[in-house]
Symmetry: C3
């Protein structure tokens, strides 16, 4: 693709060598001579030192930048759109690959794709246009919705339900048993985990994330919720709609999360707590009690975000404050001594 074509594709204005060939898009710190990149703030120009990009998306022409430029309102989004123009979406041929295993009693829609080495258990259903990549496991009586995409190594346990347009990335585990044991004498006796998991429409789940089946009833992931990699969601959690759960978050059993909440990376929640609608839980924080709707909490144990900030800022002064206190104690002692004298 040439500069003018690319500018046209993103609705921008080309400035510079119109003949140079552009073969892809990359971030500024890693861009090659045949790739476009973007700079949405001149302060990032040093990232291009020693680099010779074929085109740079910019907000306004940058005379100090010696490279072909494309001026657009949103350089980052232009780069994203350009990238999509270079890399086609995958196309999946419908049908069951003969090297896949579909057990008797399973029902696969004729428009669905079941690739080689995928496994579909007895009584399971696979909906229209769903895609099961190689090495996917769909357990007995599980259901995969229309247009769902299960990437390689996804495991969907028995009787779990994956609704329409759900995307699960590599090695997602849905429907493993939760940690349900009762100590009786010198044994941990297992509590049967007979519930299931329901993943509602338009959910996306990141690689190696685990969602445990309910002890009874259902662990539910609400419609439109997006979950990152390596997240743990315990048995009987009820996650609302459009929730964002960032990487390495851990939710214990029976946690409820309201619609539109955000759980930042590596935060955790103890069992039976309710995270309010539209609330935000800070990264690496640990929540021990209910979070009100719309609240923002941080720290461990988690508290109001501003209170946590004040404490964190004050902590910097603690070593000096303790020394100051000791000095002050001496001064008061002196005053007292004089006073008595």
């Amino acid at each position: 693709m040439k500069l003018a074509e690319l500018a046209k594709a993103v609705g921008g204005e080309a400035r510079g060598d119109a003949e140079r060939e552009i073969r892809g898009v990359a971030q500024a710190g890693d861009v090659r001579d045949d790739e476009a990149t973007f700079v949405d703030d001149p302060k990032y120009l040093p990232l291009l030192a020693g680099r010779n990009p074929a085109a740079v998306f910019v907000r306004a022409f940058l005379p100090e930048l010696h490279a072909p430029q494309i001026v657009v309102a949103e350089p980052r989004f232009a780069a994203i759109r350009a990238s999509a123009a270079f890399v086609a979406d995958p196309v999946f041929a419908p049908g069951v690959d003969p090297r896949a295993v579909v057990e008797p009693g399973a029902v696969v829609d004729p428009t669905a794709t079941v690739m080689a080495l995928a496994y579909v258990g007895a009584g399971a259903t696979v909906g229209p246009h769903a895609v099961l990549a190689p090495q996917v496991f769909v357990g007995p009586e599980a259901a995969i919705g229309a247009h769902a995409v299960l990437h390689p190594g996804v495991r969907v346990g028995a009787r779990c339900r994956i609704r329409a347009r759900v995307v699960c990335w590599h090695n997602v585990s849905i429907g493993s048993d939760g940690l349900g044991f009762v100590r009786i004498g010198d044994q941990h006796v297992k509590i049967p985990q007979k519930g299931a998991v329901v993943v509602e429409d338009d959910v996306e789940i990141g690689a190696n994330t685990c969602i445990d089946r309910a002890t009874f009833g259902r662990t539910v992931i609400g419609a439109g919720t997006k979950i990152d990699n390596l997240v743990q969601i315990g048995h009987n959690c009820l996650i609302g709609k459009r929730v964002l759960i960032v990487a390495q978050v851990g939710l214990s059993g029976s946690v409820t999360v309201g619609d539109d909440a955000v759980l930042a990376a590596a935060s955790g929640v103890v069992p039976h707590v309710r995270i309010g609608r539209g609330s935000v839980v800070g990264a690496k924080s640990g929540v021990h009690k209910d979070v009100p709707d719309g609240a923002m909490v941080a720290g461990y144990p988690a508290k109001d975000h501003m209170a946590w900030k004040r404490e964190t800022a004050a902590l910097k002064h603690l070593p000096e404050a303790i020394r100051a206190l000791q000095r002050l104690e001496k001064r008061v002692e002196e005053l007292e001594t004089k006073d008595k004298a």
Copy 2:
């Protein structure tokens, strides 16, 4: 199932519409019209607002609850028992599926089940009544004990030993190499990892958990220990019996954990530390030194649990304390000035 039948099945007393059909069990916040649920404390009744459960297990009849009830001593356990009555345990036919791969020299007991797309390496053994689900990997010379169940995607590396009745959930990794490198000049040179992992009887391991093989000798998980999802156990760890390790815990190499200890969620332990018998490590804490038998520790770095609680509580007062200290310094200064005058 009808109310009277269900009451009989759990040894409870039916109160209300005896003819309604009950088809399953769910938690209060998600129960449907044809399902039973439980309320073990009237304070949870609001969870049933707008819901119309077919039966509710209760400790004592609740007149304010307009739903069929079953009075039992332990409502939650009644719900668990009822759930098991609705969902049968899976039954596995013995034998090796022709679409599984069993390499020459492997020995599979005729009562064991090896499902389609499972792989058993050369020299491996699979014991009586063991179940290898689809897409399981058992490495060369590994051994799987009687009645063990390996769920889809479990990886058992070469020479590792899984004893009787062990359950491993989706994508568990047993026997990967630990992070063993020595820096020599400008390289990280690999230390050969030639040991193995031994998982003793009655251990259960959650989805996507990783247990590294020993550098030499054995990483050991003691009998009856239960491990949750996404846990990391480093090379040469020696975990005792009946230990509970909750989700996202990370144990560095050569950690020793005494019998009956509990490691709460997302806690971590540095290398070569000993966690005492029956001790408890708090959630998200980081342990830097040995924990005595029976101790309870929390925080980062982990310390006595009560000391940590006191510090955490005091921290709330720190911003105000620093201001108070500054005010006090001024007052002392004034007193000193007057004193001099």
Copy 3:
């Protein structure tokens, strides 16, 4: 192997029963009667209580130790070398197993090994002497370098590049989409993730670790970097050479890590931050801003390691300091009262 043979193999001096048979190596706390172990400091001798090892590698002869001994300069490394002598490296026969799936248009070098149940997508390439274990997935147009080893369950997404001698452990995910969404109205709208991942020469990646593909361009793992288990690396991260990333670390999107940096276990970094060359990020810390070259940071939010240590030490005194402050306030009040009187 007999004591004298083993001593010779590690260049040490045998002391004690030369005829006892040694069949392996284990750590002191778990050693059996037919195994060797090591003690590099007499303080670890109690670990051998009640044990009867066939040989013990020691720095200097220990008269109080009643077991055959081998005196060597580095007992631990002698044990590692001995262990390698007992366990042979695996040998892989070249060729594609007929039970593997290689899609049309993929190119597998004749010296490479593709084991049963592995999958190689259309247009992918597998280099000389590379090994794909059972149940590995190599996506369309991905490239696997010479002598790379992908252990069971590794997933390499479309167009990703794995260079020479890279080792990926069980269930590693390379090339899943990152958490890239834009909130528009009441939806999280997906940002297409069309970039790839490049893993340079001599990288080793631990089990169940996830590396997201770039939004555009490349997520890069630099040559010689070693990554532990259960690590999350977000889209567009640029990781330098010879970096060490310990278990359960989480890097958000667009993080840059300089050469030779060390990220200790369970630490985390927010998006767009730069971790300096040769810097060290402490375990469980959370980095919110750039870390200078060679710096050592700890805590949450992460700060200079020594400042964090001082604050942490001071925190122990906080509960008492607050009480002391209150007592002092009273004393000053008394002085003020007297002063006024």
